[in-house]
């Protein structure tokens, strides 16, 4: 299969996932409630009482990219459940019998989680603007933010596919995913700077993809300090590629 065909197939899988979302956008709206609560309640309270020292930016500005990353992770990480449904209903089998590479299926489906993430990001930004947060709106930064969001959603959705293929049963999958999301969230810089964490936990953040997502978004949207971007984006890319390959293996395993 040529590279061009693979790209076309990936975009086809992506396109139809987005069409599904368009037919039934209920979930997208529901997924907007949580980040709103984080920003409006948690964010404003913590800003008012200056509980966490965030240097020369307000806590709300510090928190906004964190909430963005958190909400996209919480949405994408449950993506595996859709794959197990697809498997049980024969949709996945039918897809895998077409001349479509496993990589295209995993990547196309993973990237579609990015669309949900982008919609959430737009709403979060509008909400934060209303709460008085100011953003860096240069075209390059915005393009990079879009890239980071899609990459991050793909990363977590593929990780989720890997878990789904390992755990197989939905009940187990839900349990394990619930179990890992909180540590991923707390061992990141979404709510507080890494420097306030206990030292051992600071090392854990280095292998937490969410840390790199938050850091990239915060640099691009709030601080405009782009010095870490190439490295952190690179690490996020490596994580994603790793999970895409693991997800491809997972799909094959699911059908056995």
């Amino acid at each position: 299969m040529t590279l061009w065909q693979s790209i076309k197939k990936t975009s086809t899988i992506f396109e139809f996932e987005v069409r599904k979302l368009r037919h039934d956008p209920f979930e997208v709206f529901v997924r907007l409630i949580q980040p709103t609560l984080w920003l409006v309640i948690f964010g404003t309270v913590f800003t008012r009482y200056r509980v966490i020292d965030t240097g020369n930016i307000s806590y709300l500005a510090f928190l906004t990219p964190g909430v963005m990353a958190q909400s996209l992770m919480f949405t994408a990480i449950f993506y595996g459940i859709a794959i197990t449904w697809d498997k049980d209903s024969g949709i996945l089998a039918k897809l895998m019998v077409t001349p479509t590479g496993r990589g295209s299926i995993v990547l196309g489906k993973g990237m579609s989680a990015g669309v949900r993430g982008l919609l959430q990001a737009v709403v979060i930004i509008l909400l934060a603007l209303a709460l008085g947060v100011s953003f860096v709106f240069s075209p390059l930064n915005i393009l990079l933010v879009i890239f980071v969001i899609v990459l991050a959603a793909t990363c977590f959705a593929c990780l989720s596919i890997v878990f789904a293929s390992l755990l197989r049963r939905r009940e187990r999958f839900m349990g394990v995913i619930q179990l890992i999301t909180m540590p991923l969230f707390f061992a990141s810089n979404a709510l507080y700077p890494v420097s306030v964490m206990p030292v051992p936990l600071q090392y854990v953040t280095l292998v937490n993809p969410l840390y790199y997502v938050v850091d990239c978004l915060r640099s691009l949207l709030i601080t405009n300090d782009l010095s870490n971007i190439p490295l952190h984006l690179g690490i996020l890319l490596v994580f994603t590629i790793l999970f895409v390959f693991a997800g491809m293996y997972g799909l094959k395993r699911l059908m056995q």
Partner: protein, 335 residues
């Protein structure tokens, strides 16, 4: 030329569970091959290996001389597959489901719309093309799925339980389409089924699989000839007689077996029933009973099935179908 050639195929799952062992058969090009067997006989495993979803533990399978596990990518271009479950995506419309398949099967953009329109027309779904699949009946979903699987003119079409749970009208329509594909396009069809009348109506060749091995293969007529016995069903006027005496007398006829389905209903299996009918009626008369009703029939595919598998078919009833539909609804909710 053989469309499918399976030689010494085995699949052993984890935990040493043998799904199929040393399975061999061939399917001629242009035929409609029915794969029959009780639940758990290995039908689904065999079909999954043939459509490249699973690798065999041993043996090999070829479709038009292409090795299934060596060259899965080539195989996927020449086959179509309709899984047992209702696998059209419920959150997309009929047209979108077809468009998705058309794009994945690399049908050139110029031909795509025409091909989809033709399929919708052929499957009698044109008026509902833009409705979500969730609003389709079971028969409509099935027709759409067959349409999806044949968009790219596959050389072999695999159908896993194509009419499970459909009402008689829906089933008749699906049968008509299957016959048409086979007749007009010369497509080889490989199907599994639980329904004997379906196998009888559609298949030119039948393979019976039991406990992972092929126990019989042939045309429906050939298979029925191997049975050699027919059935005589007699409704008696009363039940005031000794059943065992009557059974003893009847089973003294060479090759005959008999049982009471009901105190007044006697079922006799005997070679050449027409030859023995007078004798049997005479025996009943000597017991002082008269006959209210009588039915005589030659061997059926069900008799063939029973002979080669020793079990009755478990047919999916409305309950099973309901669970399939429920599952589909949940899929829509989750995705």
């Amino acid at each position: 030329m053989n469309a499918i050639d399976v030689q010494h195929l085995s699949k052993i799952y984890r935990g040493d569970i043998k799904a199929i062992s040393d399975l061999s058969f061939t399917v001629g090009a242009g035929s409609v091959f029915g794969f029959l067997g009780p639940n758990g006989a290995g039908k689904s495993t065999a079909i999954k290996i043939l459509v490249t979803l699973m690798n065999p533990t041993a043996g090999d399978a070829r479709i038009f001389d292409i090795d299934v596990s060596q060259k899965p990518k080539e195989i996927r271009r020449i086959i179509g597959y309709v899984p047992q479950e209702l696998s059209a995506d419920g959150s997309l419309t009929g047209y979108e489901n077809l468009l998705l398949s058309a794009k994945l099967y690399e049908i050139p953009p110029k031909e795509r719309e025409q091909r989809i329109a033709d399929i919708l027309e052929m499957m009698e779904l044109a008026s509902r093309a833009d409705s979500l699949i969730d609003t389709y009946s079971g028969g409509m979903v099935r027709r759409l799925e067959i349409g999806q699987a044949m968009l790219h003119h596959p050389r072999v079409l695999f159908l896993d339980e194509p009419t499970i749970g459909l009402d008689p009208a829906g089933r008749a329509l699906v049968w008509r389409q299957i016959r048409k594909l086979n007749h007009d396009e010369g497509m080889t069809i490989f199907l599994t089924t639980h329904y004997m009348e379906e196998a009888e109506a559609l298949c030119t060749q039948i393979g019976i699989i039991d406990r992972g091995q092929l126990s019989a293969v042939g045309s429906p007529t050939q298979l029925k000839e191997t049975i050699g016995v027919g059935t005589i069903r007699i409704v008696l006027s009363s039940s005031q007689f000794s059943q065992s005496t009557l059974l003893d007398m009847i089973t003294s006829i060479p090759g005959a077996s008999a049982l009471f389905q009901d105190p007044q209903i006697l079922e006799i299996k005997v070679p050449n029933p027409a030859e023995h009918i007078t004798e049997i009626l005479q025996l009943i008369k000597t017991n002082g009973i008269s006959v209210n009703d009588l039915e005589l029939r030659g061997p059926t595919l069900e008799d063939v099935f029973l002979k080669y598998t020793g079990s009755h078919l478990e047919v999916a009833g409305p309950k099973e179908w309901k669970s399939i539909k429920q599952r589909r609804r949940s899929v829509r909710r989750a995705s």
